[in-house]
Symmetry: C3
Subunit: 146 residues, 3 copies
């Protein structure tokens, strides 16, 4: 176990803005890596927070893109657009988007160890856009460590 | 990026208790805002932890209440009370409650930026009660920052 | 509210490795308790991060084992092996594993209060193996506090 006393514990925050072009998985990993590198922290905790309820976060495989298309098909089955919803003013993709966001993550925290995010080899961090139309999305980042 | 050295990093913790009156979404946002304000932290990380396995946490839309009723209907479809379960001693709503808790969140962390929770405009933080009867629930809060 | 200034905020990190023997729930709670005790922190935040996309984390009931078997059956219904998937090179259990991981958690954070994890009485922390064959899995731990 690595366990030291840090007299200079620090924090860094940032709001990332991105424009999504319809439903899909938008890889944010590089932006997170840049943020951690820029803060020059060796050990710490990165928190990623999605400021929306019809988009969400997911750690998933970054190797075979068919994993992401199969995941999209699974979301379509679990929260179909064809179901009856009371909340439908913005179209048939509105409420399924909220349900799919509820079933995935609004927030992720990833340890920083030895100056790098402790992601596995095949893990990418995705913003998942659940709405069909273009949206501007914001992700809040918080980093604490030394 | 905001990145400073803090010589007075602090923590605050609290256990919140609430009595739920059956299935539904109980808005906890005001209690979280109060906790962060009381600790007078400008930058930090708030963690919310639900100490139960048949209730859970969710960030969802706080504007149109039909989002929450549609979500409840989706939970009913995804984990129906009518299915056969081995764990049924406490009634037909017992095991569906565990499944719905597993599909949502036990824990949420929210960055504090500029003295405020970095929630989006339409985001509320809900304790989701999945059991039909009245329950006493506990939520552990942890705040670290400066 | 407990709120103090800590001049000796510390961090600890560790990678836990475990070998899973097929689908199921592997209780990690004791390893987490050991890690927190070893770091001798009174107040803090433990983060648990699963470095895989076909295994995940879950806080669930540690009392009646039928809760876990019913949960496994629910996963089988929500993401069945019998569905058609594009990503199937590693067998019919491959893509369902990714979907089940997406519907549960990759990361959990648990407050440490009074020297102990703030888990409820009936809560255990599980690594959920979603693949049928034996796998070596890694979990990254991060603890910050005093």
């Amino acid at each position: 176990m690595r366990c030291r006393t840090f007299w200079a514990m620090r924090q860094a925050t940032r709001i990332i803005r991105l424009e999504t072009g319809g439903r899909g998985f938008y890889d944010c990993t590089a932006a997170l890596v840049d943020f951690v590198r820029g803060a020059r922290m060796g050990e710490g905790l990165l928190t990623v927070f999605c400021r929306h309820t019809s988009a969400s976060l997911l750690v998933q495989e970054n190797a075979d893109p068919s994993v992401l298309s199969d995941l999209q098909a699974a979301f379509d089955r679990l929260a179909p657009e064809s179901a009856q919803y009371a909340h439908d003013t913005e179209g048939p993709d509105d409420m399924p988007a909220h349900i799919r966001a509820a079933l995935t993550q609004t927030q992720l925290s990833i340890p920083v160890i030895g100056g790098a995010l402790a992601l596995g080899n095949w893990q990418g961090v995705y913003l998942v856009e659940h709405r069909r139309r273009l949206h501007r999305r914001e992700i809040a980042l918080h980093l604490i460590g030394e």
